[in-house]
Amino acid sequence: MSTKHSRAARLFLAQKEDSQWHNQSLWYVREKRDSFAMGLPEWEELRRLSSEIKRHTITHLDKYVEQFAQQAEANGVIVHWAKDAQEHNNIVYDILKQHQAKKLVKSKSMLTEECHLNDYLISKGIDVVETDLGERILQLMKIPPAHIVMPAIHLKRQQVGKLFEEKLHTEKGNSDPTYLAHAARLHLRNEFMTADAGMTGANFGVAATGDVVVCTNEGNADMSTSLPKLHIVSMGIEKIIPNYDSLSVFVRLLARSATGQPSTTYTSHFRKARPGGEMHIVLVDNGRSDIIGNEGHWETLKCLRCGACMNTCPVYRRSGGYSYTYFIPGPIGINLGMLRSPKEYSDNVSACSLCCSCDNVCPAKVNLSEQIYRWRQDLDSLHKANQMKKFISNRLTYIYNHPKLYRMCLKFAPIINHLPRFMVYNGLNAWGEGRELPTFAKHSFGSMWKKGKVK
């Protein structure tokens, strides 16, 4: 009885070279992150501050969201409130309709993925163009992102080359990354030039000033908002932070954690609309205010969406983003999926070896592995526990509670060492699925102790 994650991971690993490349590429990002983090003597202090500022902000979020909205409105920005994904999508579409906008250029936003905004707008006849290169590649391939920061990390250059031959009419057989990226530049330049509206997500919303802060390396958020007159920001309420002092802490952590860069190329502050234009902010709840009340899991709201937990995770690196059933993979995605719907996304909680590496790299000190452990304790009550493992656990509890029986089992255990493989590794041994049993010692510690053989 394996989970959907483990079955998908098996397929991923069957492509040996590609999966090794995936593992190594992400580990390389992790190493870059380490070298930049260790370059700052105050790194751990920054992580502590980041966690504490987020704790404070989330537990005073009503005050800060209201302050942010007031400041933004004072700056002439139009603020909207969306309880859920549907309301968010309707608001965005209404704004576009009012402006008779036909083409929308977008910079990367995980929130709009969460709300399935693109499909909704396309069904209403809007031409939606993703402008982050990775996101654009995936949009043209009609597949979802496999990582929240490096969405096309699972693709090889040849696949992109082939796609561009068909869609952008690039040279046949040319899969040089520079050539392809510059072909995409020309293609997207034309989309920016002819767009009626631009949409961005938000890395941070500053309550004291009303600034929306967007970090990119490509400059696509800036291009998306410099040419069209209409700018729509879609942001989750947990993105709001108090002031510039706190922002300076987060900005220093974000790019170093995400990609191992000292900063993203662009850290842009949007405070007002373009001259003669309009700026809208849609503040989205979609379950976030409920998470605040979840005592075991509210700290997931501290997440900065840097993706460091994915890059370091031995399971993510060796199973890839598509093995997870929630649209955000990796340690943070396991937890966010369970908060969205435990029944629907419980297959992912097996995708963790409890090595706790994610906890140690998280720039906001989200206790990711501890939370995954907690979710596993809930599996039985959700009727999602592995029945075979449950059976084994119950038997073992009985054995451990009966010392005579335990000692007898131990005495006979070495027999297993000599049994033919098919008798040990079969459907009855859920533990041995994908793992080797240890060799049982001929004599137990207990029996050796009694005979005085332990010195």
Binding site: L49, K83, D132, G134, A181, A184, S226, R271, S289, G293
Partner: protein, 194 residues
């Protein structure tokens, strides 16, 4: 109840325990030679840096750096080689095909090569749309880290500003680093004496 009221009241209802704001008076990293560090990190992130001596003509320097540039956009009074003024054009689209744009930075950051550019021109597209971007920065405006930077920056009435660190880049295809994704393919910082 409006969505705003519903969201705010649900947040209030769900807050169980409140945490205090920590003291953020953190001493960020300090450099003995901020200028040398700024130059080194700017180069590391793919930028170009040139020191400008007092009395040197900036226009001449830019001409030498980009001898093939035909269209040059800037609204800075000291830039006499500009062929387009982003303050007076009708639409930002007119700035497409700009070879070089020239902007003024307010604060440079030694820890990461960021330069704060507060929008001081009608069409901010000028900072992003050109093939190459030249940023003028006074060398005594370099601070150690982002904590100091956020205390030093200002906004103009336009209500936009950006920290820019090197050229636009992407590693979305097989993690291969490519300069010039959607925005400037190259950035030169001219560090002036005043």
């Amino acid at each position: 109840m409006s969505s705003k009221e519903a969201i705010l009241s649900n947040i209030k209802k769900n807050i169980k325990q409140q945490f205090d704001m920590p003291d953020i008076s953190i001493q960020g990293i300090q450099y003995e030679d901020k200028l040398a560090q700024f130059i080194a990190i700017s180069k590391a992130v793919g930028g170009n840096v040139q020191l400008v001596k007092k009395g040197e003509d900036i226009n001449e320097i830019i001409r030498k750096l980009y001898p093939e540039a035909k269209t040059i956009a800037s609204n800075l009074p000291e830039i006499t080689i500009a062929t387009a003024n982003p303050d007076t054009i009708a639409t930002p689209q007119e700035l497409n095909d700009t070879d070089v744009a020239i902007a003024r930075g307010e604060v440079g950051v030694a820890e990461n090569g960021c330069i704060w550019i507060p929008q001081d021109v009608k069409e901010k597209a000028v900072y992003f749309i050109a093939e190459y971007l030249v940023i003028l920065l006074q060398r005594d405006k370099i601070v150690n880290n982002m904590h100091e930077a956020y205390k030093a920056i200002h906004f103009n009435d336009y209500g936009f500003g950006s920290f820019i660190s090197g050229p636009s880049k992407t590693a979305d295809i097989e993690q291969a680093l490519v300069m010039g994704a959607q925005s400037a393919k190259g950035v030169t910082v001219l560090l002036t004496e005043e």
